[in-house]
């Protein structure tokens, strides 16, 4: 981050999680660094870890010169962090030297100097070829030696001497009232000063670290929470984490098929963060359990942090909805870390999570619920803590599910999300709907970044067969769930059947009427036909009568034998006969 310029001083990596990020690579090589703080804030631990990690990780032997504890005590103290000083001492990687000054034994007369200390330290350095030295804490000399004028002059010479020998030194010092250290050691050690601090807020102690000064290089200037865990010191630099995590397009099932369907049919993105919020008893934990269950079912590692129930209780309770987590635990696919949120400060929880994630390499993590973490801190603190956790998980490409309890009486559950919803990629809201003398659960997807997602409210059903989502009844003016939905559905089915029957009956009736009309049409046709026949008959009759009449007339004319008109009469007759 910072060491790219050639002029920048070389850094000796501490190997301590986070500290190298803040200091841009470690402590200044060949220079003394002052670590100061109040009693019990971890000065010795930090110094010791610097030395041990130097020996084990960076191949730099170190001398630990202690003025307060003896070697056996110190070895015992750091064994809890997994540091085996005796083994390192046997390998000549670490040399412990206990300098003890008993004030009551000492009398001064005349001039002296601390050459004895120089010789001891020089001898120790030469014995193992040390590159690193810790003096913990030289301030003890001030109470052991009466002549502070000599002591100050000699300490100045000592730090100069260490610099000249190119030793990277860590000097610890007790915090003073007005000054950084009680005896003003910062006057002599001016290259790098780190202040440790511990503060109690609401009965919970949080340790913090700050790089006050780092000559010749930029450094993180904020206060960073740190803790001393099972794996040693860890500092949590929030600002050194950048938003540069990869964005996977792979999808991860939530374990609930219908829920995946609501999320574009494929579930959430790998490495994304999912918030499931809801009032008490809406089934948040069940969704969380199903989520890890599904991951284990795919053969992936899953980690569940529980702040409400113990591991055994979760296993028992989830069995009642058909989720059996026990086989996964036995097969080592699932780890449940259950603790009370008040057990540690937020930062410590965070570090525990970090540690567990680093050790177990899960592909999914569920935290149930994050809202409990606020019990022991201000909401203000929760957001950055979660931000760090989410960023960390994203960088590891771990899909995370967080449940969050909304306060029961809240009018809008959207409001009570600890302000963390903006950190989340997918937010599902569970709600209780009380209607018709019963309570039912509903679920909907409030947001889901980067994917099409359903806008529908679904009913969320927990049964001994597991979790399922059912379409709610959405009528013209209301949404029904539970038995109301079932009764409404039955009602609708009956109504539909009735309509079907009525329709059939009407069809039958219409068909009958048509048949009747057709019959009438046929009768009329017959009538029409007979009318037509009548007309033909009348015509024929008429023609026959006319013919007969003419024949009669002609016959009459022939009989009468009319002379005068005979010619004419003949002609007309010929014409007339022709058409008949």
């Amino acid at each position: 981050m910072l060491a790219e310029r050639p002029a920048a001083p070389c850094k000796a990596p501490t190997g301590i999680q986070g500290l190298d990020e803040i200091t841009g690579g470690g402590l200044p090589v060949g220079r003394p660094t002052l670590i100061c703080g109040t009693a019990g804030c971890g000065k010795t631990m930090l110094a010791m870890e610097f030395l041990v990690r130097g020996a084990t990780q960076f191949g730099e032997p170190g001398v630990f010169m202690m003025f307060e504890e003896n070697a056996a005590e110190l070895s015992a103290n750091v064994r809890s962090l997994g540091f085996d000083l005796e083994k390192l001492a046997a390998q000549n990687m670490v040399l412990l030297d206990y300098v003890h000054i008993e004030r009551s034994e000492i009398e001064e007369t005349g001039e002296y100097n601390l050459e004895g200390l120089f010789i001891r330290l020089g001898h120790a350095i030469d014995a193992i070829g040390a590159k690193r030295v810790v003096l913990d804490t030289v301030e003890a000399l001030f109470s052991g030696l009466p002549n502070h004028a000599i002591l100050r002059a000699e300490l100045r010479r000592l730090f100069r001497w260490l610099k000249d020998r190119g030793i990277t030194a860590v000097i610890t010092g007790e915090k003073g009232d007005a000054t950084i250290t009680r005896y003003g050691l910062e006057e002599y050690v001016a290259d790098c000063v780190i202040v440790l601090d511990q503060r109690i807020a609401e009965q919970i102690c949080t340790r913090r670290l700050r790089v006050v000064k780092y000559r010749g290089t930029a450094h993180g200037t904020n206060e960073y929470p740190f803790l001393i865990g099972e794996r040693g010191f860890s500092v949590l630099p929030i600002t050194s984490l950048r938003l540069d995590h990869k964005a996977s397009t792979a999808r991860v099932s939530t374990g609930i098929a219908r829920l995946d369907e609501m999320l574009g049919g494929k579930g959430v993105f790998r490495g994304s963060s999912v918030l499931v919020s809801g009032s008490p008893g809406t089934g948040k934990s069940s969704i969380g359990a199903r989520f890890v269950d599904a991951a284990c079912g795919r053969g992936e590692n899953a980690l569940l942090f529980s702040y409400e129930e113990s591991s055994a209780q979760i296993v028992r309770n989830m069995r009642s909805i058909g989720i059996d987590l026990e086989p996964w635990i036995e097969r080592g696919l699932l780890q449940i870390h259950a603790s009370r949120p008040t057990l540690h400060g937020l930062e410590q929880h965070l570090v525990m999570m970090h540690g567990a994630v680093r050790a177990f390499h899960p592909s999914v993590v569920a935290v149930d619920p994050i809202s409990n973490l606020t019990l022991e801190g201000h909401d203000l603190d929760v957001k950055p803590t979660l931000m760090r956790l989410i960023d960390f998980l994203k960088q590891q490409q771990i899909t995370a599910l967080f449940t969050c309890l909304c306060s029961g009486g809240g009018a809008t559950p959207e409001d009570s999300q600890l302000g963390v919803s903006s950190l989340m990629d997918t937010w599902m809201l569970l709600r209780n709907v009380e209607f018709n003398g019963e309570r039912n659960r509903t679920i909907y997807v409030l947001k889901s970044r980067g994917m099409a997602h359903s806008n529908q409210v679904r009913e969320f059903v927990l049964s001994d067969k597991g979790i399922d989502l059912v379409d709610v009844y959405v009528g013209a003016d209301r949404v029904l769930t539970g038995t109301a939905r079932v009764s409404q559905e039955t009602h609708e089915r009956t109504a539909a059947e009735m309509r079907r029957l009525a329709h059939h009956r009407r069809l039958v009736r219409l068909a009958g009427r048509r048949k009747a009309i057709e019959a009438q049409i046929a009768a009329l046709q017959v009538e029409a036909d007979s009318e037509a026949a009548e007309v033909n008959f009348a015509n024929a009759q008429q023609a026959l009568q006319e013919q007969t009449t003419q024949q009669d007339t002609q016959a009459m004319e022939r009989l009468r034998g009319a002379g005068a008109a005979a010619g004419g009469g003949n002609g007309r007759m010929k014409e007339r006969q022709f058409p008949t």
């Binding site: 030297d97 300098v99 003890h100 000054i101 008993e102 034994e105 000492i106 009398e107 001064e108 007369t109 005349g110 001039e111 002296y112 100097n113 601390l114 050459e115 004895g116 200390l117 010789i119 001891r120 020089g122 001898h123 000399l141 030696l145």
Partner: protein, 107 residues
């Protein structure tokens, strides 16, 4: 560079032999002054009842840890117990005598 001056144990009361070690670093002015001062004081007040080892830490640095030496010169009274340490070039005779818990010899 070991000086030895041993007196025969005469009586039970006088049997208290002062076993002294003087730690120095090289032959500096302070070292030389301290050695000279110590010899003078012992001869004056502890004649025949003392033994002095002078240890040069520049030659045997590993011996510094044993007596928890940080300052030089340091005079360590190993016997009689309890252990006493006197820092400095021993130029103030009275303070050396107080530090070593020695009754000044009446001169």
């Amino acid at each position: 560079m070991t000086l030895l001056a041993r007196a025969a144990p005469a009586t039970a009361a006088a049997a208290a032999i002062f076993e002294l070690r003087l730690y120095v670093a090289g032959e500096t002015a302070k070292s030389i002054a301290a050695i000279a001062n110590l010899k003078r004081i012992c001869e004056t007040h502890l004649a025949g009842k003392y033994r002095i080892d002078v240890i040069d830490l520049t030659k045997t640095p590993q011996l510094a840890a044993g007596d928890q030496i940080i300052a030089v010169p340091t005079l360590v009274r190993r016997l009689p117990e309890p252990v006493k340490k006197i820092l400095g070039d021993l130029s103030n005779e009275v303070r050396v005598l107080v530090g070593l818990d020695i009754q000044p010899a009446r001169a």
